[in-house]
């Protein structure tokens, strides 16, 4: 079934491969993000998280495999899929010279929203930007810039949010603020979230997808991952290290 804006949508990726020359950044990755769930995308630096997220958002085409978002195939219906996905890239890229409201207005025109004023005021309210709405983005703190990125990502009321390290580089207070915001947004959306902060995963995510060297290492909710690994009392850090090390050693044994 194909979804439209406002409906719960899932993400289905099958056999994703992304090659950059000889380097294989993502290797035969298949994943199924259920509608309405919050899934944590974990992995060491260079594991292929950002590349996978870019493919899911239609920024990068996969070398092999297929992606469906809300029932829309990205290869054939990229435009429709783009309207139900909100994307926050790593570092929240923005135009520093624009005012917050100008930037949101620009984004609403990019998505050809029928009621841009209403969409902007809802996003501003939800992301707590009322006080800074007329300030240039370049003058805002990192936390506020992240909020502006999130406001832009939810402006068109997407059913799926893809957030690439949304709390990276923020101070502890800002981390808590952005985390609370993501928790609020997760009430009516499917969220795929990459992070290095494992407490964040425990606090927000229903399920975890663990990548290592572009391959899927483990997938599931935390209790079942702990059970399957025989580490029922282990912290998430220990579980993450053990699963990654196991994947590396198996890969070494194979090669």
């Amino acid at each position: 079934m194909q979804a439209t804006q406002g409906q719960h949508c899932g993400i289905i990726a099958k056999g994703l491969v992304k090659r950059f020359g000889r380097i294989v950044a993502v290797d035969n990755l298949s994943l199924n993000v259920e509608p309405g769930s919050v899934v944590g995308f974990l992995g060491h630096n260079g594991a292929g998280k950002t590349t996978s997220m870019r493919m899911i958002c239609g920024v990068l085409p996969p070398s092999e495999g297929s992606i469906q978002v809300g029932g829309h195939d990205l290869q054939t219906h990229r435009d429709r899929a783009a309207r139900i996905v909100g994307y926050l890239p790593e570092g929240s890229p923005l135009y520093p010279e624009m005012r917050v409201v100008e930037y949101l207005r620009f984004r609403s025109r990019l998505y050809a929203l029928p009621n841009p004023g209403g969409a902007i005021s809802r996003a501003v309210d939800r992301c707590g930007l009322t006080d800074v709405v007329n300030r240039p983005i370049g003058h805002l703190s990192r936390g506020y810039r992240q909020r502006v990125g999130l406001a832009a990502a939810i402006l068109h009321d997407p059913s799926v949010l893809v957030l690439d390290e949304p709390t990276s580089g923020l101070d502890p207070l800002q981390v808590i603020e952005v985390r609370q915001l993501i928790e609020e947004l997760s009430a009516d959306r499917t969220i795929l979230l990459s992070t290095h902060v494992l407490q964040e995963v425990e606090a927000i995510c229903d399920r975890v997808i663990l990548l290592a060297r572009g391959r899927l290492v483990a997938e599931g909710d935390l209790p079942s991952l702990r059970r399957e690994s025989g580490m029922e009392d282990a912290s998430l850090e220990d579980l993450f290290v053990a699963l990654t090390a196991k994947a590396f050693s198996e890969e070494g044994a194979v090669s």
């Binding site: 958002c57 085409p61 994307y87 135009y95 010279e97 990019l110 050809a112």
Partner: protein, 238 residues
């Protein structure tokens, strides 16, 4: 269309939010004023803008790439190109939006020179048909420079390289006109002559609007824009 105009209006505003925009306008006006006072505004001389238009064809060659060098390079540097790629905007609306904003900036740059036309009117009897033809020529040749600048900005990673690529291309063309006959005989350039934009511009400055010249500039500009779209699309698909 809406996405195209969103990109165009954002870029147009951004051009005037940075000092570089005002520097381009100031340099253009300064150059024009110097030529006007030294070559046009002389007692007994005909009230014509020909010298200004001849000078502007060369000046725009250096100023138009300064307008476009930021266009795509800066989006890449900031990471905002990734956001646009994830939006429903396609490569065509992105490139056309960038071009329209650059063209609007060029019109703003040219507008103050109308003051020189007013001066001509006050002290002489200018031929408005010739002046209109000259401005049309400047817009067409400027569009071609802007198109090449956008392509240079798409294919290069830095603003400096984008600027140099665009300028170097036309400087090479101009040098070829001078050097080819000397190196390869007088017939060598005649083969290249139909592709010489500077020669085609000369018709506009004397008030001659030849449809083949108009078509030439429109086609060359379109080619640069289509090539930019093709490069961006290939990035999205490979």
């Amino acid at each position: 269309m809406k996405t195209c105009s969103a990109i165009a209006s954002r870029d147009f505003r951004a051009f005037f939010l940075f000092p570089s925009g005002y520097v381009v306008i100031a340099l253009f006006l300064l150059g024009n004023s110097i030529v006007f006072m030294g070559d046009v505004f002389i007692q007994g001389e005909p009230a014509t803008m020909r010298s200004i238009f001849d000078f502007d064809v060369v000046l725009l060659l250096f100023l138009c790439p300064a307008i476009t060098m930021r266009s795509v390079c800066e989006e890449r540097r900031l990471g905002t190109l990734e956001l646009i790629s994830a939006s429903p905007a396609n490569a065509a609306s992105f490139v056309v939006g960038k071009f329209l904003s650059s063209l609007a900036s060029l019109v703003v740059i040219l507008l103050p020179t109308l003051f020189l036309v007013v001066l001509l009117e006050l002290y002489g009897q200018p031929d408005y048909g010739e002046i209109a033809s000259g401005y049309l020529g400047l817009l067409l040749v400027g569009s071609m420079y802007l198109g090449s600048g956008i392509l240079a900005s798409v294919i290069s990673g830095s603003q400096t390289i984008a600027y140099l690529l665009s300028v170097f291309f036309f400087v090479l063309l101009s040098l070829g006109r001078e050097a080819l006959p000397a190196w390869a005989g007088p017939d060598a350039w005649s083969l290249m002559k139909p592709f010489d934009p500077f020669l085609r511009m000369q018709d506009f400055t004397i008030g001659l609007i030849d449809s083949s010249n108009v078509l030439f500039f429109l086609l060359v500009t379109s080619w640069f824009l289509l090539a930019s779209i093709a490069v961006l699309e290939s990035e999205r698909r490979s």
